[in-house]
Symmetry: C2
Subunit: 334 residues, 2 copies
């Protein structure tokens, strides 16, 4: 494996690789989720490149840029073991030299709502760094995790809008045995918070289960998930309430059913419906998502003409909630 | 020559071309200046592609998008005769489909001053369409005219900032026998305006001549050029004034000496000094430019350490004003 620190080094190394070439961009602090992106790239492509860059422009003021976990030696070892041919790990000076003045912006609701509302300018940072990485690496396929569903939708949008010559592939979320979506930020959790953290995914599963009921609407999904996340299990007696109040509790940032391409909130469930959620445990913010798509024909509020599925990317089986035997489970949407 | 109307058609045709590949982007209404870009591309590259697209997003409200000259059959013939292998001529729907939401913006003075001040959002339109054309065509070298000097500086800026894998080459301005810079918009001029139009370049030549004097400052260049443009030739008697007032007269938009990379106005002449001007004849706006660079060592206000030229792209001979025998003259900067 070649580790390139500069753009010319990276281009020289990448030129030699047999095509097609897949790119897995990361901010380091690698976990099995990242390695599953490499595996997906290896399955499709002859060569795989990765990048490791903690991109300052996608962190807001007061966010965790300085404390973001970094372990370069470990990252390099894991990428080499995973079969990556070239890893690009530039300095910030390489990526944002003096005089840098260009921004790439996706306008409208897709960037302003949900993560964009909580993290102003975050997606501008994502857009510019992904555009740059595509310029340096020139891959045939770009692999991104489905966990960051809004990021995936935004990257798909500007790749299409700017005619960037790359295919974008979303890779299902990898989870810990108890269901918690893998994330480099999980290391921030205290043991008590870590014990509670899987409740977020359990809430999404409850939402997806509600969405699988005949005639369910998006509201039913949201109510089921929100209740599962915020209300204590079991009878609402005083002991249960006391116990719930004593431990770490989620503060909900958002929980909504959206069209997964546009992130417009949906009233009726459709073939691109996705339940997205962000919640805080103390100072750590967790996000997770699950497909709650139903084939167009299953949406009883649609007109008869909607029986033709409007998307082939969502298999009709995805309206089933993942079975509990699927831990470590992947998001049901391939 | 293949004329591709859609992005997939263009990509399929371009894939077959031997490399390196040069791209000449145009808005059609071709003249000898465009064809000189094709010739420059042929001199460097094995294959040449061109695009013809009157990009709506770079026209402001009240600008000439609707009346911009179009003659597709003639453009195709000229490009084929010039040796272009593939011409990409998409519809606006192809380039800006429903849901299009992405902008590419170069921030700061480079886009906000001069042309940017006169034409708000113009350069955002340029940035997005050039990024898209580079994405579709994936050329090795992009050819742009030096006449649009600010556009050239902006494209160089975002190509570098976004690490777009293309070299940008500026091509000297081609001029009519009387010195008027070739432009598709020259057809808007009335015969009377056309007779006066070469005064703009004559004014730039006067500015460059003043800049060639020992110890000249940027102010000397600006004063010489402005006087040449706005004051009548010969003695200021009442006949001369009457004659000047009777015919078409230039209204000056701007005339300044700037660093040609940053478009920051300069006080002292340096190795990247460029005189830029925009002026109106009736409703037609003309722009033109000339290098007024002096080698770093000739700038008596510079410190001794500035004797090392900071740019190799400006040959030391460019501080000579073009000789009158150079008509049809090229801008002195190669």
């Amino acid at each position: 494996m070649i580790a390139a620190r500069t753009i010319p080094e990276a281009r020289a190394a990448l030129r030699e690789l047999p095509r097609p070439l897949g790119l897995v961009p990361t901010m380091g602090a690698l976990h099995a989720g990242h390695l599953s992106l490499v595996q997906a790239a290896k399955a499709d492509c002859t060569s795989v490149a990765a990048s490791v860059f903690v991109n300052p422009t996608q962190f807001g003021r007061g966010e965790d840029f300085d404390m973001y976990p970094r372990d370069e030696a470990r990252d390099l070892r894991l990428l080499e073991e995973a079969g990556v041919a070239v890893v690009f790990m530039p300095t910030a000076d390489q990526m944002y030299p003096e005089g840098f003045a260009t921004s790439v912006h996706v306008g409208g609701r897709l960037t302003e709502s949900f993560e964009g509302a909580s993290r102003p300018s975050h997606f501008d940072g994502v857009a510019v760094i992904v555009t740059k990485l595509l310029g340096v690496v020139a891959p045939d396929v770009l692999y991104l995790g489905e966990k960051d569903a809004q990021q995936l939708a935004i990257v798909r949008r500007f790749v299409r809008d700017l005619d960037l010559p790359v295919e974008v592939t979303g890779v299902p979320t990898l989870r810990e045995p108890d269901g918690l979506a893998m994330s480099s930020r999980n290391v921030y959790l205290t043991p008590e918070q870590r014990a509670v953290a899987p409740d977020l995914y359990r809430a999404l599963l409850a939402g997806a289960a509600a969405g699988g009921a005949p005639g369910a609407a998006a509201k039913d999904v949201v109510v089921a998930a929100t209740s599962a996340l915020l209300l204590p299990d079991g009878p609402l007696d005083s002991d249960a309430v006391d116990e719930a109040l004593a431990g770490p509790r989620f503060e909900l940032d958002y929980l909504a059913v959206v069209d997964e391409d546009t992130f417009v909130p949906e009233g009726a469930l459709g073939p691109r419906s996705r339940l997205v959620a962000a919640a805080r445990l103390g100072s750590t913010r967790l996000i997770d998502t699950i497909s709650v798509a139903v084939p167009a024909g299953d949406d009883c509020t649609d007109s008869p003409s909607a029986n033709v599925p409007s998307s082939t990317s969502v298999p009709s089986s995805t309206n089933a909630s993942p079975s509990s035997s699927a831990y470590p489970a992947k998001d049901a949407t391939a």
